[in-house]
Structures are given as structure tokens and as C-alpha cells.
Symmetry: C2
Subunit: 348 residues, 2 copies
Amino acid sequence: MNIKRSAQNPVIRIEDVAPSRPDFRVLGVFNAGVAQFRDEIILLLRIAEAPLSDRADEVLVPRLNEAGTDVLVERYDKTDPGYDFSDSRFIARDGQTVMLTSLSHLRVARSKDGIHFDVEPQPALFPEHALEAWGIEDPRVTQIGDIYYITYSSASARGVGAGLAETRDFRTFKRRGLMLAPENKDVMIFPDKINGKYYALHRPVPKSFGSPEMWIAESPDLDHWGNHRFLMGLSEQGWDSARMGGGAVPIRTERGWLALYHGADSKHRYCMGAVLLDLDNPAKVIARSRVPVLEPEAAYEVNGFFGKVVFSCGALLLDQTVRMYYGAADEVMAVADIPLEDIYNTLL
Amino acid sequence: MNIKRSAQNPVIRIEDVAPSRPDFRVLGVFNAGVAQFRDEIILLLRIAEAPLSDRADEVLVPRLNEAGTDVLVERYDKTDPGYDFSDSRFIARDGQTVMLTSLSHLRVARSKDGIHFDVEPQPALFPEHALEAWGIEDPRVTQIGDIYYITYSSASARGVGAGLAETRDFRTFKRRGLMLAPENKDVMIFPDKINGKYYALHRPVPKSFGSPEMWIAESPDLDHWGNHRFLMGLSEQGWDSARMGGGAVPIRTERGWLALYHGADSKHRYCMGAVLLDLDNPAKVIARSRVPVLEPEAAYEVNGFFGKVVFSCGALLLDQTVRMYYGAADEVMAVADIPLEDIYNTLL
């Protein structure tokens, strides 16, 4: 593999981002959707925040109030043995998540060269109703004509579903409702209609039985989705044996739709791999990575808010090279250039 | 409550149903969808079957093969301490369901009086592809014009999703694909378009957080669904505090859409309740039962394959009385007539 991580990595760090309010701090800037807009490369960043606190014996967690008008702060006692604080991402009790430790919103960053970004001082999309009360996360951006469609995880006490929004200019955004019900994440819309229909990859998480695996759905209008089909599942062992889901918006190549996806093993080590899907029938898997395309190896990938994670939500095809933008360790944004040929070589 | 359970209850019992093959036995005939077709009342029954076995130390479980062409039988050793056989409905290991103990298909029963039914000797819909490999369950039938739409649970190792089929005559059936991805059950389509859109109730089961609660979705064409909204959730305590989901297809009344739904407490005791939804905006709850409409009390409701269950998938409005068809104890079909006024009296 001839991966070139940018010498500027991480290209966006916590200190590059102003919190949305003075009593909050930024825990991470990661898992950004990517778009080419006029002469700019735009990242739609996920910004995770939590209230400032100077006490080691408490965790302050933010969530939206029921009316969607304000952010409430709840205090959890770290010395309470009834709670489990071992996963930095959430608070659990009796094995069940009771609250996330941060509230995420989406923020625009702009660049001329795709490496040096200016992060806007204000949120682009902030949680605004009950089904977003625990945050909006992991956006993917798909350009179709002049409109950029944004899918994102919509988290609340009701579960995590897939929200849809749109923009023409990355200044004003319009929500279009929940396109997939809980539990579903990692939704990305294909950039072209295929045989007259829109397609999207998605990743349901069933409770009673079944695993977090990749599915595909169709739509006549982007708002309503159906004909859900199973696309691909966990491997028996190895890097994508515990959970998986779509990553970057699929890229059209000569050999098929190239979809970079994430997989994790039972130790929560997240890598990126690739799958090729048939151009005319994206429900058909042509080939899939047997070894990861990118593994967490750099210091900023191994250490962070949640370590050993590389997680891409968007990539660009520059001639024969894929420029992959990815969240590293749930804390920073990074970029890597990977020759298309090297990605193909991971495929069986 | 002035509930009149039919004196003929159970109106369909195991011995009334021929197994689909001679080496299988019927474990239950229950949770039937209901339709009025010409001069007949039709029940679309769920028939659960398992292979015949004369050994007490084994459990034989059926599932469809990968190609969808044949039913395989797998043998589980009841003396193996690694498996948990305590729930009659499934086999578990390490707290996770590994296999259902029966394979369900759908079967037509016909009646002139709505009480005495003739059960057809052959399945109407039998599992036929990988996403139905563990069975098709709990149908709901909605008539729109001349077409009867059937939603059903489509179970497989990939989880339980919502299948859609249609028929004009209850003799030939056409599948229309998976309308909602796993994990989702208890889907019922409203019998009229409302403001130009189709609506359905559904019951996702999120894994990471969230509960089995009722949602509503919209569709332009019945195949593709979106604008998912949370409808109503578990009560703090009581009969519908652990899980809930839609039951009978909603009935139009003067006061609103009357949706009979099921709820269970932490001891898996399933009751039926009711909710009234706004006629013009069915996402708006007008009122909901604080006490159950029907509780498992009769012997055939308390004792059976899975006891203490009343579970309706369909009901008819006969003047001012609701005739509710329901599965009892996951084993037999029963009928109860309930005055509309008594149902209204349960609503807060």
C-alpha cells in the first residue's frame, strides 16, 4: 500500500474550532462529509462538545430540551457505582446506554487546496428537535445537480435514525425529515440515479438477532426509501468481524461503484476497507477488501478521545488517486491519498 | 368493560390446521390479519411449525436454505448447557437469540359468519428467500380499492424486517419487497390515503439505546417510506411499560383513527389497548388507553405455547362494536366483540 498521509495531519484539530458557546469545550472535530463547491473543498464537520467542568468527580452531559429551544446540562456522579463510565462516548447502566457524553453538531470548514481549512465560527446544523436531542453526527454529503444532500445520524433517547437535509450553498440548510427509522446509521446516497432510482447504503442495528451490517435501499424521491436488501456482512474474523458500515459516499469508477466502508473488530479498532458494487445494480457486490485499506497507525489515529479509529465519511477521486478525509480517534480530521490501484489490490 | 369473547373460542385451534408437510407438526395458529372479501371474512393466519421429533433431549428447528428452495432441519442438543431453551419461542446463547424454534408461514381461512372458519390445506405465503429464512409472521391486511396489502414480519439471521405483499383474490399473492429494514415489526398500513399520502404504523427495536415503541411513516406509493416520526412510547409502569407495537389495522371512527395496539410488561404479559389518532394528522395522538381493553384471562389466553398473550393483528367495525380477532398464547385464534363505547372509556 502506497498511502500518503498528509504531512499536515491532523488537518483540523480541536484548537482550530471555537465552541458553540463559551461554557462548552470541543471534545472532537471528526467524521466529516466532503463536497466540492465552486472553487472550494468543503468539509461538513462533526463537532462534539461537552460543558466545561473543573471537577473530576462529575460528568456534565448536554442534551436538547424537549421543545428544541435550549441545551440542558445534566450532571452524573462519577463516584456512583451504578453507572459505567468506561467508554468515553457514553454513560451506561446495567449494560444499557443511558446518555451520550457529548452533543454533536455539524460545522462547515472551507479550503482552496483541500488541506488547509478555515473552520466557521458558528454551527451549520445544530440539533433542533426531540429526535436530535442527543446530537447530530457523522454527515455524508452527496451532490446531485445543484443540490447537496446531507445524511446524518439523528440521536435521541428514542434511538439513532438517519436524518436528511439539503443545501445549495452551505450557508442555508433545509431539513427533510428522518429518512430511516432507528436504529440506523452510516447512510450515504449514491451521486447518480441508477436505472431511474436513487440508491443509498445504510447500516441497521437489529436488537433481537442480526448484526451491524450493510444494506442497500431505493427511493423515487430521496425522502421515501424501500426495497431494502442485505448487501454485505461481517467477516468471520479479522478487521471487519464485529461491526461495519458505509463510509465515504460511493465513487463511480470504471470497475464499479467504489464504496469505502469502515469495519471494526471486537476490540473496537476501526479500519477502512473498500467494496466494489456493480454500476448498473449496486445491490451486487463485485469484490471486497480482505485486508484494510487504512488502519489506525499514526499517533493521532491511535490516541485520542476514542483511540484506534480511522473513520471516513467522504472522499474525492483525483485522477487515479483517492483523497480520503477521515476522523481519527474520534478527535481530529486527517487526510490520506491512496492510489486507486492500491485499493483495487485489497479486493478479492 | 362489556367484552364478549366468542362462545366458540378458540375459533381456530392447532388440530384444525394441516401441517405443510407430513414430517412437521403445527405449534400454533395465531396472530392473523383480517379482511372482508366478497361475502367472506378471511383470516390470514400465522402458522408456526416445527419438525416432528420423539426425542426429549433434542430440539429440531426448521429454516429455509440459502437458495430459498427447501426447508432445512437443524438439531440442537437440549442437554448442552451452552444453550438456553427457557423461552419456547427461540434458542439463545450468551443472551443472544441464535435460532427460532419454529418456522412460520401464512395460511388463508375463510368464513361466512366470521366465527366458523375453514382453513385451507396449503400455505398462502411460504418463506421463499434468504431474508425470510426464519419465517414470515404476524400479517396485517389493509384493503385499498380492490387490492389487499399484506405487511408481515420477515425473519432471518439478518434480523426481522417488514415485508409487503399484495393480493386481489387471496389465491395469488405478489411480494413487493422489504418496506422497512430490521429491526422492525408490527407494521400496518392505514386503509385510506390522508392528505394525499399513505401512512403506516411501525415498531422499530433499536439496540444501542431506545425502546420498542410506536412510530409512524409516510409513503407516496406503499413501497417507499419516509418522514419517520415517533408516535407514542412506553408507559412508566403497568401493562404497556416494557414493549408495545401496533396491532389491528387502524379503523376510521368519528372520533379519530382507532388503533388497537399491544403492550407487554416486564413479565411478557401481552394485553391489547387502544389509541385514537387525529383523522387528518395520524401522527397526532388524541388519547390512549390507561387500562387494557383486553387482558389474557381465559384459559386459552393464559396457557399455551407462550402463555398470557392476547395479540391482535386485525379487527372489524360492526356498527358500534369492534370485532377483534386475536392470537391467544401464541397458539390459537380467538374472537371478542367489544363495544366501541367501552374502548373509548379506556382512553384518557
